[in-house]
Each structure stands twice: as structure tokens, then as C-alpha cells.
């Protein structure tokens, strides 16, 4: 019963420019850190059901950059950023830029991931901070691209029905 199911993510909004995602994993924190910061492992989970990760590069050091590319139904979704703090396996701070919007760097978010281990399980807290409420709300409404992908699927169905 307690093997794989670790629970569900809880999303809260501690302030009006923030999103806090909390999730418990049934694994020690050094493994959660590894899954979160190793390119070939990130490729396996980062896209969720929104697509396939085609590229993940990680230069894990303060000042180093990261860049993930997801193929979401024929369209590339690209996120990138820079690491600000790297304290393995406890704390990671990085910027996050979504390349799909005008002036993406002006809308960069700051993501702070904290891992806390207890009895072999790990609580991940991911605090995402944006420059204002508008940017924060836009991120929530994008459903991290999930909504967009659904729209693409819907569009495809329409296109097929027209053909």
C-alpha cells in the first residue's frame, strides 16, 4: 500500500505573486534531487502528459543555465533559466523563463525548491515567485501548458473533421 503512491501535489498561493507547490515522495531526498536535476531523468517526467521532452540541458552550479524543450503536439515549448543557489540535496534556486511569450526575460519567475527528508520520505516545496499578480495568474491559467495542449488537440479534431 505504501510503495509507490506518494500523494498528490498541493497548490497554494501564500502571497498574490506566489505559487507554492508541495508534494511528498516516497524516496530519500538525495534521490529526489537526482531525479530533479539529472537531464536524462528530467526527460522522463517534466512534460507530464503534455508532450515529450526532446532536450534537457542542466549546468548545475550558481550562474549555470538550464533549458528544457518539450514537443507538445508538434509545437516546441521551451523553458530555460539560470541557477542562483545550488545546495545539494536540500535547496535549489533558479530563474524560470517561458520562451513562448513576448519579452520572456522580463517575466522571469524565481523558483525555490526545498527538500526535507523524514523517515525515508521527502517533502518537496516549490515556491514560484513572479513579478506581480498578473504574471502569477497567467502561469496558473496556462495550466503549465496543459490547457494549451488541450486546445491544440481540440483544434486538430476540428481540422480533421473539416478535411
Amino acid at each position: 500500500m505504501t510503495t509507490t503512491t506518494s500523494g498528490t501535489a498541493k497548490v497554494t498561493t501564500p502571497a498574490d505573486n506566489q505559487i507554492l507547490i508541495t508534494r511528498e515522495f516516497n524516496a530519500p531526498k538525495h534521490l529526489v534531487w537526482k531525479a530533479y536535476t539529472t537531464p536524462e531523468l528530467v526527460k522522463r517526467w517534466w512534460a507530464g502528459e503534455n508532450g515529450t521532452v526532446t532536450s534537457a540541458t542542466i549546468d548545475l552550479r550558481p550562474g549555470g543555465t538550464w533549458r528544457y524543450v518539450m514537443d507538445a503536439g508538434g509545437r516546441d515549448v521551451i523553458f530555460r533559466g539560470e541557477y542562483r543557489e545550488v545546495v545539494a540535496p536540500d535547496r535549489l534556486v533558479n530563474t524560470e523563463v517561458y520562451e513562448g511569450i513576448p519579452d520572456p526575460d522580463e517575466h522571469a519567475g524565481l523558483v525555490t525548491v526545498t527538500l526535507t527528508e523524514k523517515d525515508g520520505r521527502t517533502i518537496m516545496e516549490m515556491l514560484c515567485e513572479y513579478r506581480d499578480r498578473t504574471d502569477r495568474d497567467a502561469v496558473i491559467e496556462s495550466g503549465m501548458e496543459g490547457g494549451m495542449q488541450t486546445s491544440m488537440d481540440a483544434l486538430e479534431k476540428v481540422a480533421v473533421s473539416l478535411a
Binding site: 498561493t13 508534494r23 529526489v32 499578480r133 495568474d137 495550466g143
Partner: protein, 139 residues
């Protein structure tokens, strides 16, 4: 302490309390959202999320004067976030979370998208644990 924890998992409302300000823009019916935009009223909802309470309890726990608490309760009752019944000489207040559902829905798709990612991460982690176990056995 433990009472509060279980109550939160049972009545999953308060985690969304702080997003109220953000919702004002997107909300179509703003009444419930506006009602909980006030920090004291969110505090009241948090206390009621732990269970039904008489007004005296709320006064004591909040450290406010009774008229102020009553004023907040009136606003919350007007938008049906709080319901009341008489028990003997006491007025018992309880949470009615329904009006906050649109708020919950707003976040739920975002939450679902992360859940899918984390579920995949669980699979990766199970493999890493197995690999680590095998490595240990090799030594």
C-alpha cells in the same frame, strides 16, 4: 494540533485563502471572494474548518471584541460561507465551503498538471531506489 491537521485534509478550503486577492480579477461572482479577502475573516474560516464553534470561542481565539467578530460573521453568513444554529443559549457557527469552489477549480487544472509530472517522477524514483539497493548488495 492534530485536530487542525485532520480538519484541513477533511475541509480543503483554507489553502486557497491567500489567493483571494488574486481572484478578484478573474471572478465572475465576487461576493464570496471579497468576503474572504479580509484576513480576519480568513482566520475565522480557518478556525471553523476545524469544526463547529460557538461565537465565544471565536472571540477568545481571535482576540477581538465580540462586536467585531459578529460583524465579520455577518459578512460571511451573507455569502453563505458560514452557517449558524442555536444550541441552547449558544449560537454555533460552522463552515460552508461550497461558495469557494470556483476558487478551487481555478487552481485545480494547474495542480493536475503538476500531479501528472510528479506521478512520473514517482516511477523514476522507484527505479532509483531499486538501483541503489542492487548497488548495496554488490558491495
Amino acid at each position: 494540533m492534530s485536530e487542525a491537521t485532520t480538519a484541513h485534509s477533511r475541509v480543503d478550503v483554507f489553502p486557497y485563502g491567500y489567493m483571494i486577492a488574486g481572484m478578484a480579477r478573474a471572478a465572475t461572482t465576487t461576493d464570496a471572494f471579497n468576503a474572504v479577502a479580509e484576513p480576519r475573516r480568513r482566520q475565522i474560516l480557518d478556525l471553523l474548518a476545524q469544526g463547529e464553534r460557538p461565537v465565544n470561542d471565536l472571540v477568545a481565539l481571535l482576540g477581538l471584541a465580540q462586536p467585531q467578530v459578529s460583524k465579520h460573521l455577518r459578512v460571511l453568513r451573507e455569502v453563505d460561507l458560514v452557517r449558524v444554529r442555536d444550541e441552547g443559549r449558544q449560537r454555533m457557527y460552522r463552515l460552508n465551503a461550497g461558495p469557494l469552489k470556483p476558487l478551487h477549480d481555478w487552481l485545480s487544472r494547474y495542480e493536475a498538471s503538476w500531479n501528472k509530472r510528479f506521478d512520473l517522477m514517482d516511477e523514476v524514483l522507484e527505479e532509483l531506489k531499486e538501483t541503489e539497493k542492487d548497488d548495496d548488495n554488490d558491495h
